[in-house]
């Protein structure tokens, strides 16, 4: 029983990390129906961007997150303005194909600069310390911190969308870009903010993922798939749905890993396919 509880708790904490991967993807899909294929590669890019001050300026990885988040927001904003806005139209294919191209550019660019060596961030004893809850249940301090940050950022994103002027603009553009335009909301600028937010959030996930495990330029696709699965399992409509989807995915992967090494990811995929078969609109779908 303790073992089962431990598996679920570890899966839950892993799900917190995946929520950080997924919320950004949920934003771009929610606002502009864009499935950003480069999402995972941006996550890896953020980790490499944080690597520079950590290695050269001996900056604490947690501190390094801040400039990277700002940088990634600017990158997302610029990318949407310069490249993706030109491709947006009735057809979903063109912007998606553009992100496919960007994904290949990022992956091979990072490969060119950093080669395939796996990297990681060192945060000292925080990375290994844990809180003992029972005889055989221990919660790592760092995974707990990730989970708490993830809850806070999910809450912040929800509030941003429901309470602020930018949030109203984002939702209005999502519902009907043309009518929103008549109200003075410029869709192109709103889209740019959406991609900026998306990349800023995934930047946090990228650095945390780099602390938790190692990363290489090839780590992007796997992260994209986890983020995507969390979004689909959760269903569109609320960021808490995406959060719940990420937690379910995390628990599924954790439980699968108990069956045998290498089965964790497969179990995650199978749970995703099962949700797709039983409830293709996601478990927590809610019409906005």
């Amino acid at each position: 029983m303790f073992e089962a509880a431990d598996t679920i708790i570890q899966g839950l904490l892993l799900g917190g990390l995946y929520a950080l991967f997924a919320i950004g993807l949920s934003i771009t899909y929610g606002v502009m129906r864009l499935v950003n294929i480069a999402h995972g590669d941006f996550l890896v890019l953020a980790a490499y961007l944080a690597l520079w001050p950590v290695m050269n300026l001996h900056m604490n990885p947690f501190v390094a997150i801040l400039p990277v988040v700002v940088l990634m927001f600017c990158l997302g904003y610029t990318l949407q303005r310069v490249i993706l806005n030109r491709t947006m139209g009735a057809n979903f294919l063109a912007p998606m194909l553009a992100t496919f191209g960007i994904s290949i550019i990022l992956r091979n660019g990072l490969q060119q600069i950093y080669h395939s060596d796996s990297r990681s961030f060192d945060i000292g004893t925080l990375g290994t310390d844990s809180i003992h809850l029972g005889p055989r249940i221990a919660i790592g301090e760092f995974p707990l911190l990730v989970f708490v940050v993830s809850v806070i950022l999910t809450l912040a994103t929800s509030l941003l969308f429901s309470r602020t002027r930018i949030g109203i603009a984002l939702r209005a553009t999502s519902d009907d870009a043309q009518t929103a335009g008549l109200m003075g909301i410029r869709a192109k600028r709103t889209y740019a903010i959406a991609l900026g937010l998306s990349l800023a959030l995934v930047a946090v996930g990228g650095v945390f993922a780099g602390i938790r495990t190692t990363f290489t330029p090839e780590s992007g696709p796997a992260s994209l798939l986890y983020a995507f699965e969390a979004v689909v399992i959760g269903g569109m409509g609320s960021f808490w749905g995406t959060f719940a989807g990420a937690v379910i995915l995390g628990v599924a992967q954790g439980a699968g890993a108990k069956i045998g090494a290498g089965f964790g990811i497969l179990t995650g995929h199978l749970v995703f396919l099962a949700v797709l078969a039983l409830k293709p609109t996601g478990l927590f779908e809610r019409s906005r």
Binding site: A94, I105, F228, L273, A277
Partner: protein, 354 residues
């Protein structure tokens, strides 16, 4: 201007398209004759040609899906892998003739596609694209856990050593060439048929196609299965040619990346596009062969630039600029009893179905 009753015929052929068809026939003859040609009949050239043909077939299949059925797949490598592995299962483990295993492998891939289609077709648009990728990952992990097939490290097609090397290379080259020719002719005939008309309508507007009685869902399923048959054949041919398979190579994302870039750069939604794209793709590859990852960087950049500034690709640009239609797929209304120039003038542009 025209007062009498309109008297017209629907014409597909133009002077250029007739010439292009004969050029195509000549190209097919040359391609099939390669093993007996003095300079080109070398194993190295044939090996390279098999690879080029595999990518071209895969690009045509991806184009059929994305360019016509509006289904973007990032998971086509699933069926390349299933096709490749099927050859190893049938030839290596079940003792079927290796060359006979290739069409069987294609059929197996099509079957795998048809069986999993109900699941992935629950997703639309961008979700479908990534969903197919998840499916490919499931297949990859599945195959890497089958120890009889070599697990994660894969295995070699040792039964092929029983066949003389020279004969084997010519045979696999001819199978690849035949598949390419059959696929090319097949796609052309398909697009000229009722099926193709539905497909072209679907490409231009899904809602309009549906309102005209096209069974969109069935059509998409058929195209998905058909393109998976092609992808399966590509996997079967390629891995029979290199005699070795592993899960990471067979289910590699790069298969679909290459197919996508070839189609996007060449021109999506036309049959000529992937041919132009493949020429650019392999041209750039031989130019940048010494620069490793730079090649993919350049390809990615070219693809993004094309999507931004020439969404219909290089071929689409050329076609729009000079109004060329190489393949007789376009229908024009030609008025009877008028001069050619008059007919062209009287043919309203919207009556042209590309």
């Amino acid at each position: 201007m025209i007062r009498e009753k309109l008297n017209y015929v629907v014409s597909r052929n133009t002077a250029i398209s007739t010439a292009a068809v004969w050029l195509g026939v000549a190209a097919a003859v040359v391609v099939v004759a390669v093993p007996w040609l003095p300079y080109f009949g070398t194993p190295a050239f044939m090996h390279w040609a098999v690879e080029v043909m595999c990518y071209l077939i895969l690009a045509q299949m991806w184009n059929l899906l994305a360019g016509y059925a509006g289904l973007m797949s990032v998971g086509m490598q699933a069926f390349v892998g299933v096709g490749g592995y099927s050859v190893f299962i049938f030839a290596q483990h079940l003792g079927v003739n290796p060359f006979l295993s290739i069409p069987i492998a294609g059929a197996t891939a099509a079957l795998a596609a048809a069986l999993t289609a109900p699941l992935v077709f629950r997703m639309r648009g961008g979700y479908f694209a990534i969903g197919t990728w998840v499916l490919a990952e499931v297949f990859r992990i599945g195959f890497s856990n089958v120890s009889a097939l070599g697990g994660g490290s894969g295995q070699s097609l040792t039964v092929m050593t029983r066949i003389d090397r020279g004969a084997r290379e010519i045979a696999i080259y001819l199978i690849a060439a035949t598949t390419l020719i059959v696929a090319s002719v097949g796609i052309n005939l398909l697009l000229r048929s009722r099926f193709g008309l539905g497909l072209t309508a679907l490409r231009d507007s899904e809602a309009a196609a549906e309102s005209q009685g096209v069974d969109v869902r069935l059509l998409k399923l058929q195209v998905y299965t058909l393109s998976s048959l092609g992808a399966g054949l590509v996997g079967a041919i390629y891995y029979t040619s290199i005699l070795r398979i592993s899960p990471f190579a067979a289910f590699d994302l790069n298969w679909v990346v290459a197919a996508t870039f070839i189609v996007v750069i060449g021109g999506i939604g036309s049959v000529e596009g992937p041919i132009v794209g493949a020429a650019i793709f392999f041209g750039l590859r031989s130019l940048l062969a010494d620069y490793g990852t730079w090649y993919w960087l350049v390809m990615g950049a070219v693809a993004v630039i094309v999507i931004m500034f020439a969404p219909t690709g290089v071929w689409g640009y050329v076609r729009a600029r000079w109004d060329i239609q190489l393949l007789p797929l376009q229908r024009r209304l030609v008025l009877k009893g008028m001069t050619k120039a008059g007919a062209a003038a009287a043919t309203p542009a919207p009556a042209t179905v590309r």
